[in-house]
Amino acid sequence: MEFVLFIFLPVIFAILVPFAYKKIKGIHTGWFVLLVPLVLFSYYVSFLPLVMDGGHAISEMKWIPSLGIAFTSYIDGLSLLFTLLITGIGSLVVLYSVFYMDREKEDLGSFYVYLLIFMTAMLGVVQSDNTMTLYLFWELTSISSFLLIGFWYTKDKSRFGALKSMMITVFGGLMMLGAFILLSIMGETFSVRELIAQAPDLMNQPYFTLALVLLLLGAFTKSAQFPFYIWLPDAMEAPTPVSAYLHSATMVKAGIYLVARFTPIFGSASTWIWLVTGIGLLTLFWGSFFAVKQTDLKAILAFSTVSQLGLIMSLLGAGAISYHATAAIFGFATYAAIFHLINHAAFKGGLFMIAGIIDHETGTRDIRKLGGLMSVMPISFTVAAIGSLSMAGLPPFSGFLSKEMFLESMVALRHFELFNFDTWGIMFPIVAWVASVFTFTYSMYFVLKTFIGQKKFEQLPKQPHEAPIGMLIAPMILATIVILVFFIPNVIGKWIIKPAVMAIQPTLYASPSAVDIHVKAWHGFGAAGLWLTIGVVVFGTLLYLTIPKWQPFYRIQPEKLSLNNGYDALMRGSEKGLNRVSRLYMTGKIRTYLLYMFAFMSVTIIAILFIKDAFVLDMNSFTAITLYGSLNAIVLILSVGFVVFAKSRLAAIIALGGVGYSVALFFVIFKAPDLALTQLVIETVSVALFLLAFKHLPALSTHGETKRNKVVNLIVSLSVGVMVTLVALSSHSQKMIPSISQYYKDTVESEAAGGNIVNVILVDYRGFDTLFEIAVLAIAGIAVLGMIRLRVSRKEPNDENK
């Protein structure tokens, strides 16, 4: 069994969802959908023993073998961790959505189809070994995220948020594609594993740094790092299960995954360490600082997600230092990154679900209207408190362990001596600590303002009460995990984290057990982490208590200088600018477009004639010039001149007839009696038709054509004329292959028993052509009749007929 096919299980199941939604009215569609992540989760869990010993599994399905593009499912410590997150949190989110999404009011069919598409895309991202399919799935996550954010598409804000997230993440995706292409040029393969194997050679290649920066752009946009994070708060317009799933637990971690996956290739570069650590820390601080400014529960969580993603990112950057320094403390950072990633998925998923419950049960997410909910929603409060305290980094919750590891790693950065870290290194622990203080503050802000304090129930749109038990199951499971992990961190470490760390740094560790880290909650009074944590709690509490005093200072930042405003201006500007550019050449007039076509055609053909030396003039093959022919040529030119310069319609039509008749005369001169006859008949009928139609048409007019118009037209038409003349001469002078005429001449009597070769060709050799030609004429006749008979019923000119 090729297990690569399991990636596609959700999307195949998605085909059935609309039927289930339409046909089975009595049961919430979510119950069927729940099967998919549950089945996948239990299947992928079976890989744990293999991966725990440092092994990996691979399954491949060729897609475009000639280009080396394949669907691959590569399961190692890192991809298994993400796979379990996607399917595990996915199960809980679907379960939660069953109670959150109303069966009667919401379009569940579309919702679950999008969600399942996302699941496939996300599994594809983390399991693909082929960069091209990785890119494909990456963009698919952006698209499904777009569809899910815009799920309530009647709301302006939903559409805006959806578009914003798509613009930014797809931009990043394209940059990442550039990095993949550069990597494939340097390494001559699309396979990530093969690229990793050549990592030392890639270092010295000219495109190395460019590929590095492009790849990070992809990762930073997806994982909402500064300054690209601005799409994440707007993405909160999505239904809450989506926010919990895509925008905190899985999709935004795709960037983290990318950085982790490519650490073996880029990790030893100083640019990588500086960018990943620096941007990560900046994002951590920025997100935590602005989280306290928010008043919407989900916006607080969005900024906190931004900040926590920055934390994980900076740890991955610091972890890459272990390529240069052997001190165990640097290996610590990668471990902490993975550990915190798991913890964050658990507590943040739970917090989002609680925010959704509050929204569901009270009708608002505005923290200014909420308060004192603890007495009516005790279970929700418990879960929220567990999540928030874990986020703040307090024992006995899992966040405490990883937060402390984070602080220790940052403190250790001081001791790193390469790449100017000895001068600037001190900045890292300071920023990290300040950000942690704000993290503590917004965690308290989130839970205390909502559940404790004054009861303001009369301001709420709904009378609050505890959520139905079904809705609480998923967050309760997550809260249990948060507590459980605190007590058994090393079991998780052995089963999941160490294999992942080994996958990120395969050159440093021979097997997962070689990652020599033992997590414990108590390091003794001498540990830096302990004192830093105590400091965080003290200052964080102080800040929380004084929020009303300093919160107004956020207003100092003018709206005009915000990143959001920059994005809006960029969008407006590019829309206007590009509109102007396209208006420059897209005039809407047929004449302009014809001008482009004629000019392009003549220039390219003339150029090719001379570049390729295709122009040949063979004077010897020409026939002698005859008197009648020359006279007729003069007549023709004169009548053409009359057509062009005629002032009246009648003169023009008659001159056009003259052209036709002299063409007929040419046919006579060149021994083509059938043509001459046909031409004479047709020309006569045409002239009659012209006269008939022109009776209903206005007089000739130039419609104010300027001299410049005329000169441009003349130049273009002259070049077309020259081009045609050259082509005519050139094609006459050289015959590449013998003409088929000889065959007709030889067989016309024996095969077709005819004498007039032209007629036999038309009715016998090319009989079907003639038949269809008749059909074309018949259709033209019907069209003519139709247009004459057609009576436009509405007389008043509508918009289109201005």
Partner: protein, 113 residues
């Protein structure tokens, strides 16, 4: 003779394109008429103008004109007549509805951009 005809074809195409690029719909139709004449002569010229007799197999006659271009042109003449007829009627309808033959005004409105 081919040389003269090639130049004639060039003249026909030049005049045709010039008319097609003008603002008056009537001139555009006249231009397409000239264009089809030009195309017919082009095919004839490319095939060669040799031969002393019409392409009819009679006893003893072997030096006749190339029948293939003639067969092609015969088809083309008929089709171009169909095209001219449709264009004329279309112009007639168009004028009946819009009361103008100015190509610059016949460009839809800005809402369609």
């Amino acid at each position: 003779m081919e040389f003269i005809l090639a130049i004639l074809v060039g003249v026909l195409f030049t005049a045709a394109v010039y008319l097609i690029l003008s603002r008056s719909l009537l001139k555009v139709i006249l231009g397409t008429g000239l264009l089809s004449h030009g195309a017919h002569l082009l095919i004839l010229t490319m095939g060669g103008l040799g031969g002393n007799a019409a392409p009819v197999v009679l006893d003893g006659v072997t030096d006749f004109a190339d029948p293939l271009p003639q067969a092609l042109i015969l088809t083309a003449i008929v089709i171009s007549f169909g095209v001219t007829a449709v264009m004329l009627v279309m112009a007639y309808r168009m004028y009946a509805v819009h009361q103008t033959d100015n190509m610059n005004e016949l460009r839809g409105n800005d809402e369609h951009d």
